[in-house]
Assembly symmetry: C2
Amino acid sequence: MPSEFEIIRRFFERPVCAVLGVGDDAALVRPAAGMEIAVSTDLLVEGRHFRAAADPRKLGHKALAVNLSDMAAMGATPRWLTLALSLPDAEEAWIAAFADGLFALAARFGVELIGGDTVRGPRSICICILGEVPEGRALRRDAARPGDDVWVSGELGGAALALAHPGIDDAERRLHEPEPRVALGERLRAHANAAIDVSDGFAQDLGHILERSACGALVHYDRLPKCAAFARVGTPELERQCVLSGGDDYELVFTAPPGVRAAIEDVARDTGVPLARVGTIRPGDPTLSIADRHGNEIPVARGFDHFSA
Amino acid sequence: MPSEFEIIRRFFERPVCAVLGVGDDAALVRPAAGMEIAVSTDLLVEGRHFRAAADPRKLGHKALAVNLSDMAAMGATPRWLTLALSLPDAEEAWIAAFADGLFALAARFGVELIGGDTVRGPRSICICILGEVPEGRALRRDAARPGDDVWVSGELGGAALALAHPGIDDAERRLHEPEPRVALGERLRAHANAAIDVSDGFAQDLGHILERSACGALVHYDRLPKCAAFARVGTPELERQCVLSGGDDYELVFTAPPGVRAAIEDVARDTGVPLARVGTIRPGDPTLSIADRHGNEIPVARGFDHFSA
C-alpha cells in the first residue's frame, strides 16, 4: 500500500506555473497587480453528496466543478486549488481515476493544484479554490437593484430530474458532470450587478441575492429555461419542484439593468450559453414571487439545507 | 434544530476587514503590493486526529493552530482562513465552543474567517489558510545548503508524551493547545534558508527538508531540546521515540548559515522562544544521522504516515 507521501507524489504533484506547488508547508502564488483574490471552499461527503459506488472519475470532475462554479458566480477567473482528501484506504485505482477527472477539468480551465492533505478516514473531498478578479468588479450577492432584470443561464431542473428518473442521459450529465459557467461569469463582470450559482435550488439561491440586496423579485415560471427531458418524463408538479427547488444545476442566476440587454444577448452568442430573461427585481421585502402564465402565484418549496433535509 | 444557514450566520459570520467575508459565493481579499500568497490546508478527522469526546474549544484552537503553524514554517504572516465543517448533527453547544476556541486564537494572530461550508456527515474539520510573504522571501523546504546550522525552536516530544502518559499538564497543553510559532517564522525570513514545522516527527520532517534540498544532516541528540517532563517520567527509549519520531509538536526546524548565529540568538531573545542549534547540513545523500554523546549513530523510527500507521 502506498504511503501518504507516495500518494501525493504519484497522483497529485504536477508541474505548476505557481511560484511553489505541492510539497512544502504551503504553496506560494503571486496574484497579478490590481486583482482581488476570490476564495471559496466546498466539502463533499460520501453518503451525503455522492454514493460509495460513485464513478471516481466523475467525482473528481464534480468536486472541482462545484468550486469552479463559485468562481463563475463571482465573475472571477479560477487560478489555483488545494485538495484535502479523506479516504478509508489507499485504493490506487480509485485515486488514479479521481485524479484523472479532476486534472482533466482543471486543465480545461487552466487551474493548478498547488497543495493539499491526504488522511485516512470516511471518504470526503474538500477543495478550496482561489481566483482573480479585477478590484471592485466581482459579482456579489448584495448588488441587485430594483428595476434589474433577472437572468438565468442554460437550463434548470436536470440534476434533480436525474435523481427522480435515473437513466436520462442529459439529466445524468447535469448531475454528475456539471459544466461550470466560468467564461460566462468573466464576461458578465462588465454588465451584471449581482450573481449566484444554482447549487441549492433556483428559488433558494435567488432568495440569497434578495436577502443580501434587500429587495424582492417577480419571476415568470413560463420564462424559466427547463431541462428538455421534462417534455417526455415526469409530471408538471415534478417539473416545478425540480426547476424551482432542485439543486446541483450550477447555472448562473444574475441581475442586470435593462439598459444592457443587448450586451447580454451578445455574451450569450459569444459564449454559446443560452441566457433567459425571467423576471424583475422589485423594491421592498426580500420576497420571491413566482407567477404562472395567468399571473397566479406558484408556491415554492424550500431548496436544500444540510441540517433540515 | 438550526439550519445550515443559521449555523453559519450565528456562529461563523463576523465583521471582517477583508473586502468580502462569509455569505457570498466566494470571499474577496486584496493582498498588499509586492506580496506572495502562501496557501495551505489541513484536514482533521474524528477518530484519527481527535477523539469524539475531545473538548470542542480546544479542538477549535488546534484546528487553526496547525494551519497557523504551516504559515509560520513558510515565514508567512497568516491573514485569512476558510472553514469546512462536517458534523453529524447541529449541536449548538458543540459548535459554539468550537467557534470560541477558533476565534480566540484567530483574534490573537489577526486572521479572519472569510468563508466556509457546513454539511452533515462524519465529524471532520478542513481549514484552508492564506498568508502573505514578501516576494521571494518565503522559507522553503528546498533551500537548505551544506554548511548550514540546523536549529529547533521550543522543545520536542511533549505531544507524543501526552499520548503515552496522559495527565502531565505541559505535555497535554502541547498536544491539545499547541502554540504556533508565527512571530518566529516572520523574523526568520531575514536569516534562515529552509524551514518546516514538526507535525509528523522531528526526524521525518527534517527528512523532508533534506529530500527537497538534496543534502544530508548530522544532528546531535543531546543538543535537541526536550519536553522537561521527560526528567520525571518515561524511559530513555520513550524519550527518544517521542523526541525523534513523535508528531504534533508544531515547533519550527530550520537551517541557516553559521554567519547569522548572533542574529538568530537575537530573534530568540526578542520573541521569547528558545532556539537550539542541534546540528549541521552536509553535502551528499538526503540522509539524517543522529549521533549520541559518544558519536554513535542512533537509529530512527519513521514518523507518522496516515496510510501506513
